[in-house]
């Protein structure tokens, strides 16, 4: 693959990752958000594959496969099951309304661009120049974590954060060693499983997964 084509592919994939992250803030329909998360997983796997082809690195192929299985198949399936159990199809009342979230997302993206400037200057290349995308996804994940009320939305925010960290790792250093990658993936999987159980318990106790219900003490 020629350098120009692979650079363009890299740019398109990075742009699409950022786009899916922004769209998760826009949509209210939780099923659509999970679908976007799955698409983002495929894109991150594609990013790893592209970097692997560029650097002829077998480890990156394995990492791409792992990311694909975990982020595009396993996690969305678990989330879909939680969604089907909970019966809450929409994020009804986020703490910040959607219009303001979108404007905040614009601000966070610019912040990511400013923050990553010095990092990019250390080793300018096609991959590191796309670094703001990874950092922006991290910030958007944080934003989703603090502004959404439903337990499922918060899990999605957490996964967005993790996707951002993975993207940053791939773009900055062509991925962390496979052992670390595996460990992190297992961690994320366990966290989501635990959160699934917690969400189920919350629903039994309060009838919904609105986290504001947790602020009061009960017998």
């Amino acid at each position: 693959m020629s350098a120009a084509v692979s650079t363009q592919l890299l740019d398109v994939i990075s742009g699409a990752i950022l786009l899916t992250a922004v769209l998760t803030l826009w949509r209210r329909d939780l099923a659509a958000i999970i679908r976007l998360l799955a698409i983002q997983g495929v894109l991150i796997a594609g990013l790893a594959l592209l970097l692997g082809i560029n650097e002829h690195n077998t480890e990156l192929y394995l990492a791409a496969l792992g990311v694909l299985i975990l982020k595009a198949i396993v996690l969305p399936t678990i989330l879909r099951r939680v969604l089907a159990d909970s019966g809450e199809v929409r994020e009804t009342a986020p703490l910040v309304n959607v219009t303001s979230s979108l404007l905040a997302a614009a601000g966070l993206t610019l912040l990511a661009y400013v923050l990553s400037g010095p990092l990019v200057a250390l080793a300018p290349s096609a991959a590191t120049r796309a670094l703001p995308v990874g950092i922006a996804v991290v910030l958007l994940g944080f934003f989703m974590l603090v502004t959404r009320r439903r337990a499922l939305s918060q899990v999605i925010g957490f996964l967005l954060l993790d996707n951002g960290i993975t993207t940053t790792a791939f773009l900055a250093t062509s991925g962390v060693p496979l052992v670390v990658e595996l460990g992190v993936s297992l961690d994320v999987l366990l966290v989501v499983l635990v959160l699934q159980i917690v969400a189920a318990r919350m629903r039994m106790a309060f009838g919904s997964t609105d986290l504001d219900g947790l602020s009061g003490l009960r017998d």
């Binding site: 120009a4 740019d11 398109v12």
Partner: protein, 319 residues
């Protein structure tokens, strides 16, 4: 530029105006016809808006008592700004008779001039509907204009010029840029903006007079005869202008970069084909869409503003 070239360039601008003025009503008719067929109706035919316009131009314009010169001037300003834009935007050829007129900021400002003229006319009538329409239009425009500027600005970054002709010529010279993230994001933002600015579904429904939802229709309620014909012609020209600008910015194939007659002919044909295709696609999409509640419209527009901003950001860090 030699004298002969200047004459040719002026002639090309004249061709552009002729194509847009003649073609715009047919574009509106085509979109209505597609919509009618999709909904299982026979439709009035592609030529119906032209027949309407011809009828209206022969009728006397009545003006409400108490309206000022603003009401009289608005249709003229709208039509004049649309004709001016048809001449300067690089639709058929990127060679301009007068350099620097097709600057991005000038074009958007002139586009806004028509919108503002109509909104003022709506206020000038002093009726409740005129006021409602004007206030809604201004609410929408406040988010639409920065989005247009940002979306086109994202494209102008890589060319290094805010002249629309340079942007189109730059994209023609390096077609690979069409698939860059900046240009894709800007295309999405621009599509939403076209829909909002031209008053199409889901922002405004051009075929109803329901007071809860109407925007454009509320402002033109008091117009009749020649004035109404001018407003309607200008409105359909604006839709054609925006669609033409959109296709030429994001898919500029066929636009002539010289003033050779054959290239100009190809440019005209390609422009008509591309705009008709996009218009039909827009009409088909509208059939499947419901109108957004007015309070949800700023959300859609804020989304498109974000897309445009991301496009500008991406044009810097995903060069």
């Amino acid at each position: 530029m030699s004298a002969q070239e200047t004459v040719f360039a002026v002639a090309a601008a004249g061709i552009q105006v002729a194509v847009v003025v003649m073609g715009a009503p047919y574009l509106t008719g085509l979109m209505r016809q597609v919509r009618a067929r999709m909904e299982g109706r026979a439709g009035a035919g592609v030529g119906q808006p032209v027949r309407d316009l011809r009828k209206l131009f022969h009728k006397e314009a009545t003006r409400p008592e108490g309206t000022s010169v603003v009401f009289v001037a608005a249709p003229l300003v709208m039509l004049a700004s649309a004709v001016f834009l048809a001449a300067v935007i690089p639709f058929v050829t990127t060679v301009a008779a007068v350099g620097g007129v097709s600057d991005l900021f000038a074009v958007v400002a002139v586009l806004l001039l028509g919108t503002v003229a109509l909104a003022l006319a709506g206020l000038d009538t002093g009726t409740a509907f005129g006021g409602i329409g004007a206030s809604r239009e201004v609410t929408i425009v406040a988010l639409v204009e920065p989005t247009i500027l940002l979306a086109i600005f994202a494209l102008s970054v890589r060319v290094g010029s805010s002249d629309l002709a340079d942007i189109v010529a730059g994209t023609l010279a390096s077609p690979a840029h069409v698939l860059s993230p900046a240009s894709l994001l800007a295309a999405v933002a621009f599509a939403v903006v076209i829909i909002a600015e031209a008053g199409r579904l889901p922002v405004d429904n051009p075929s109803t007079h329901l007071e809860l939802t109407m925007v454009h229709e509320a402002m033109v309620l008091e117009y009749s005869g020649r004035d109404l014909a001018m407003v309607e012609l200008a409105a359909s020209m604006r839709l054609a202008l925006l669609l033409g600008l959109g296709v030429n910015l994001f898919a500029p194939w066929g636009v002539a970069t010289t003033l050779a007659p054959l290239a100009l002919l190809l440019g005209i044909v390609m422009l008509i084909v591309k705009v008709a295709l996009v218009g039909v696609a827009l009409a088909v999409l509208e059939v499947f869409m419901a109108k957004l509640r007015l309070f949800r419209v700023p959300e859609l527009l804020a989304g498109s503003l974000l897309f445009a901003l991301l496009a500008v950001a991406a044009s810097y860090f995903l060069a």
